[in-house]
Symmetry: C2
Subunit: 201 residues, 2 copies
């Protein structure tokens, strides 16, 4: 029987992305979204690192469902902001998940900052928690430069303003396959796949 893995997100974009990433690793697991299970408690993201928050979310879901659970916490880290928005990326403008407001606020904050100081990276921590207590976490990064004008319609979040180093397009101009090949989330989940293969049967 194919083992089942629960993904701790209500973000449909992330379920699709992660399914593609895990498929390419050849792992034989059934990935289901957390919304398949009722009564999952809300997780207060009290961690101060991506890894802490990813583990909090995976642990809560594993305990609630009795199944292996994976979660990620990811965000945009801007050099001149000392790594912020970081773990606060999804609620940067104050309301959780308002991508357009988050992106507009960041561009306004950085309005006076010239190109040499617009370096940034996406970071992702991917966590696996088993019902018995075992936990693993892996991290990935994608470095680039922040554009002034959002460009492209793929992806989500801050994708339209990060131009990966070595490319002339933003992340939102990459195809899903191109993005997964280089993205912070792709790197983190491919690194975590080894733990999934070892521990989830």
């Amino acid at each position: 029987m194919t083992p089942r893995l629960v993904l701790a997100t209500r973000n449909a974009h992330k379920v699709v992305e992660l399914r593609a990433i895990l498929a390419e690793t050849g792992l034989d697991v059934e990935l289901v979204g957390a919304d398949t299970y009722p009564d999952i408690p809300d997780v207060k993201e009290t961690g101060v690192t991506f890894a802490e928050n990813a583990l909090l979310k995976a642990r809560t879901l594993a305990d609630a469902t009795g199944l292996p659970a994976v979660a990620d916490d990811s965000g945009l880290c801007v050099d001149v902001l000392g790594g912020a928005p970081g773990i606060f990326s999804a609620r940067w403008a104050g309301t959780h998940g308002d991508d357009a407001a988050n992106l507009a606020l960041l561009l306004a904050q950085l309005g006076d900052i010239d190109d040499p100081h617009r370096a940034a990276h996406f970071a992702c921590a991917a966590a696996l928690a088993l019902p018995g207590g075992t936990e693993r976490v892996a991290e990935g990064r994608l470095r680039g430069t922040l554009r002034r004008i959002p460009t492209g319609t793929n992806g989500f979040g801050y994708d339209p303003i990060l131009q990966p180093d070595g490319d002339t397009r933003t992340c939102a101009e990459l195809s899903p396959d191109e993005k997964n090949a280089i993205s912070h989330r792709g790197k983190a989940f491919r690194a975590l796949a080894a733990s999934v293969a070892e521990l989830v049967r």
Copy 2:
């Protein structure tokens, strides 16, 4: 004749604060606000540190007026945000100088963050620029913890949420004299006063 010193700010709160700080050092200078002089060019704050931006503002004003000029750049640095808002403090919510919006946004961003991780400090760089090219800069800090609910009506900016270490009140509950005695701006300008005394005659 009392030498004249131009202060690079249109923020009336800062003019009052600085006048009090310089008065207590016994320096015999006449402090005038930049709005006394027409046609002062707008300064694009392209620096990435408080010191760079303070020097940019002081230099622009000294060159435009032919007088010794002082400027400060200051802000709130939150540990869990890697030092942000930092140099972006005054435009944190996207519009320059909207204190209420800046403060509300920061509290919303930190909503999930518990007290042990709410350490922060105010930082200030105070700069002096002379028409001939001479420049000096001095820095000061005030460490504390961020409250969840704004308290107090004195001061401005983020004063209502920073509780200085060793006190039970916020900066906005301190009298102007109490605040100047311990504040980042007080420390920076008292340190700069030595340079003013030496160079401005």
